[in-house]
Amino acid sequence: MLLPLALMLSLGAAPLGVDCDGERLVLLPFDTVAVTRPEGRRTEEAIRRALARTSGVCLEPRKETVERLRALSGKQGTCRDASCQAEEAKAFDAKWLVRGRVLGLGGHRTVALMLVGADGRELRSTFLVPELEAGAEEAAAKAFASLWEGRGPPSLKEGADTTLRPLPMVLLGTGAAALVVGVGFGMAARATEKRFSVGNGGCEGEGEALRRCFTDGLRRGERQSDLANGMLGLGAVLGAGGTILLVWELP
């Protein structure tokens, strides 16, 4: 667990790519099968260029990724479960990790890409790489775009978007206030009821004056009771609405 922290400290406290307005992505150096290293590197560079121009992506420079890899030497695992992959993404201080492999099979060049999220989720894609470098970049852009779009709603990933939206909070706050007011009126109605049921409710005198005082007191109690019920109902509705919206928008 200390490894990511140590890495952060060793590479400077400020997260990389702070000037970039997008999700932080680390592209790991590509592995190869049946392809020479220089060929693999050329393909990786083409894909790196394609990723760099994807909107909403902040791609870590290769030099820094290599430094992190060297610092991790041997600790980088080959795990498949989500928690372990999430740890790896954390170790690279990345929102997204892209692993790739260039394969020279059957006379063609193919790239297998894997996009790993900070939550350990993975998405995979393979695509044929055209001979020409520009074609490779285009093919990579297309393949990565499908992965990028398939990663889920942006609100689930973007740190800035994890702040709660105002509407559910306003609803919840108003609902809570309505409930408090409702409880207040309820207590007042209860007190009024108690006053009139065990005594004269503070009314004095006789005849018409006493009856009017009694009638006014009872009406006041009924209004308090109606207000309490109304406010409690409103509070419940607003609270329920706010809760539903909140749950809906939670990551």
């Binding site: 049946a34 099979l105 059957g106």
Partner: protein
């Protein structure tokens, strides 16, 4: 700037495969084999998508014809005449290739019964008579214009089989005998020839019903499909194949299940690949990435077991598979279905959905094979140790990703 050495461009290799698969025995005391024709059919399906021409000389039995529909129409009987005619045609094509500046490679594959003839010469059984070692040299090797010839023979010698079918081996060690035999005779005069021989005593004892194939031939095909490519360069060299088979057979203690093999790369180029996944071919490819490991096998939806392997989790593996069909990638207790859509396609097994499965087998040998065959993981560690123990030069190992800035 001084000019470096100028190397001639390596000519493009084109391959041809001549597969002879014969269940029948010429010796009435020997029972016919069950799966030699299945082995032939599977070699055909492996080579046909990548070779310029693949010839299968075999009489497929009913079961094999049902498993491989349409293949019987492309076979010829494994007779001397059929072999001669096929060789003549392939030789003519390879001669043309040579003229065109190409490097033809011939795979001569035999699977079936083998015997030692009256004169002490090893023979293999064709449908209409024996085909002996002199025939091999005079009719196959000497006249061949191939730049390289790979001989793959899965047969036994009856000298070591005189007691009873399936009996324990008696007499001198088969491997040593074959080595002496080969070394003392003509093979050294043909540096373009490499050999991979199963020298076990009783071929039929090494047929496994679960595979519906001979164990040695199945191991060879698994290796050639890419499972033996230890350094991930896409090529399977002789040392990789022999180390793969050694690892696959490592755990088998029952002597009836032990495989003896003899392999010698072509002295002309000891690194000549038996298989090259990088070459143009009509095959598809299954990438089994890091994180998936252990004993696994690939079976197609016809029930044909295509390849077995025991993979280290830390390294990826690529298997070449015939395209346009569906497969199951299986391991103990679970399986994942995949479809290889077309030639050249790469399927990433990391994205497959796995479900539980049950695999059953019975019998002592069944259990020995089931539990022990491919019981040892094959990877750089096993390979390095194995090759070092043989004193062979290892293949250059993969250095991993380029970490230069």
């Amino acid at each position: 700037m001084p000019a470096g050495p100028v190397w001639a461009a390596e000519p493009e290799r084109v391959s041809y495969a001549l597969i002879i698969a014969n269940n029948a025995s010429l010796d009435p005391k020997l029972a016919a084999l069950r799966y030699a024709d299945d082995d032939g059919a599977r070699y055909y399906e492996l080579f046909a998508p990548q070779a310029r021409e693949t010839v299968l000389l075999s009489v497929l039995d009913e079961e094999t014809q049902a498993r491989h529909p349409g293949l019987a129409a492309r076979t010829r009987p494994p007779t001397r005449a059929g072999l001669k005619e096929s060789l003549a045609r392939l030789n003519a094509k390879m001669a043309q290739d040579r003229k065109a500046g190409l490097a033809p490679v011939l795979y001569f594959i035999f699977t079936g019964h083998g015997q030692r003839g009256a004169a002490g010469e090893g023979t293999v059984s064709l449908l209409d008579g024996p085909f002996n070692r002199s025939d091999l040299y005079s009719q196959v090797i000497t006249p061949s214009p191939a730049s390289f010839i790979h001989l793959i023979v899965d047969a036994c010698d009856s000298y070591f089989f005189v007691n009873a079918r399936g009996a324990l081996p008696i007499g001198p060690a088969q491997t040593a005998a074959v080595t002496r035999h080969l070394a003392s005779r003509e093979l050294d005069r043909y540096p373009q020839v490499g050999v991979v021989l199963s020298t076990s005593t009783a071929r039929e004892s090494h047929e496994w019903s679960t595979l519906s194939a001979g164990v040695f031939s199945h191991q060879v095909r698994s290796a050639l499909a890419g499972a033996a490519d230890v350094n991930r360069d896409g090529r399977v060299e002789y040392t990789e194949l022999t180390a793969f088979i050694a690892a696959a057979s490592q755990g088998i203690e029952d002597v009836r299940g032990k495989l003896d093999i003899f392999a010698r790369p072509p002295p002309l180029d000891r690194s000549a690949p038996l298989s090259d996944l990088g070459r143009n071919s009509g095959l598809g490819y299954l990438l089994v990435p890091e994180g998936i490991g252990g004993r696994m096998w690939v079976e197609d939806t016809r029930g044909v077991r295509v390849a077995d392997f025991n993979k280290e989790r830390e390294r990826p593996l690529v298997l070449a598979l015939p395209p346009e069909r569906s497969y199951y990638l299986r391991s103990a207790g679970r399986e994942a279905r995949l479809t290889m859509p077309r030639a050249g396609a790469v399927m990433d097994a990391g994205g497959l959905a796995w479900s539980t499965s049950v695999v059953a087998s019975r019998g002592a040998m069944e259990e020995a094979f089931r539990d022990k065959l491919f019981g040892v993981a094959f990877g750089p560690s096993f390979y390095s140790g194995y090759v070092a123990s043989l004193g062979e030069a290892p293949v250059g190992m993969d250095e991993g990703p380029d970490l230069s800035p």
